[in-house]
Subunit: 188 residues, 2 copies
DNA sequence: CGCGCGCCATACGGGGGCGTATGCACGCTA
DNA sequence: TAGCGTGCATACGCCCCCGTATGGCGCGCG
């Protein structure tokens, strides 16, 4: 995983730091612990970065660049119709393993304003995309917005809430999807 | 707030620690920082507790005792019908300020198994209660479970997701509530 | 009055992280 | 081959925290 050869680039520091953030939270993101992970010493770190805050900023920039298009990209690549893309997003939200990093970032954002703003930008882009998809189902803007919010919430809910009995997991997933995707007479 | 007089009891240590957990995350919950908050020294702490882990355990026990009945209690006291109680819960979820502590606990739970279990117990109780309420609307068990999950997710979503334009907040809230509470022919 | 105990302050050693200063090996260039 | 910059190692001082050991103050009780 993190055992690539060659010199330790600035990017490898950032990736290792993001892995650590996802696994141990912000408190685990220290210069010396990550140095041990990369089998180097602090000397390497302070060559590539000014200080710890410099690393944190770089982590956030990288996360925003990568994650903005991660979910949206997979949806676009998975089908043509809004129905197809929404179904894929639901499936991803109930399975994806990249969510710990999302959670750690939101926890971090509760204390650092510049993180809060970055998370807000990503959320807005994702919500707008979901709104467009729900709008493609024939919902009026307000309802599309509400369903986008519920769908996006359920993504996090799956990983925040210690889910009920596992044997209900798949069934609950299907029923949630059905409720949010249903659009008929009297629904909007 | 934390400026009560008299001797610093074990309970005041726990409450101050929970406040700190909600505000600064688990990393902020240290013996000496909290001692400064209470205007005492570590001497007081190690009189009331064995060590830091002892405090953490006590915090979790207290949280589980208090929070298990917090939401449910407010719902029960707010009306007789399932509709009334659900509407109150929705309102609370979109306004409550006690959520930071919830979030910090779930972040903590991602790393400590005994916290994971406590959070899971609380979630199960709340979800079961929500299921009963949705069942009271005439939904079959599977759909009640799905809507309970969506409703509970939206509670956290409101505080995780940097919500869209504030002017849509109230409207989105109403539409989410309407969608989850609607039960008619073809709905279940 | 003195004694004990609850409650806390003070002092100490150990550890770990941050940031800086400096040393050192390698590759490239002249 | 002498020099130079890149990339990292080593070593140091500083701060903050944990846990323990010990001292001290006040108050109820005999």
């Amino acid at each position: 995983m993190a055992t690539m050869t060659g010199p330790v680039t600035r990017e490898r520091w950032i990736d290792a730091a993001l892995d650590t953030l996802a696994r141990d939270g912000l408190g685990g993101v220290g210069v010396e612990p990550i140095a041990r992970l990369l089998h180097v010493t602090k000397g390497s770190f302070y060559w590539h970065f000014k200080d710890r805050a410099d690393l944190l900023r770089a982590m956030l920039v990288r996360w925003e660049q990568v994650m903005t298009k991660a979910l949206i990209g997979q949806a676009e690549a998975a089908g043509e119709t809004a129905q197809d893309r929404l179904r894929v997003l639901f499936r991803l939200s109930f399975e994806k393993r990249a969510v710990p990093l999302e959670m750690a970032l939101r926890d971090w954002g509760r204390r650092e304003p510049f993180v809060t703003r970055a998370v807000a930008r990503v959320d807005r882009r994702r919500l707008r995309y979901l709104e467009r998809l729900f709008g493609g189902l024939g919902l009026e803007p307000g309802d599309a917005r509400a369903r986008a919010f519920l769908a996006y919430s359920s993504l996090f809910g799956t990983h925040i809430i210690s889910v009920t009995a596992p044997r209900h997991r798949e069934d609950t997933f299907r029923r949630c999807r059905a409720l949010l995707l249903r659009v008929g007479p009297g629904s909007p």
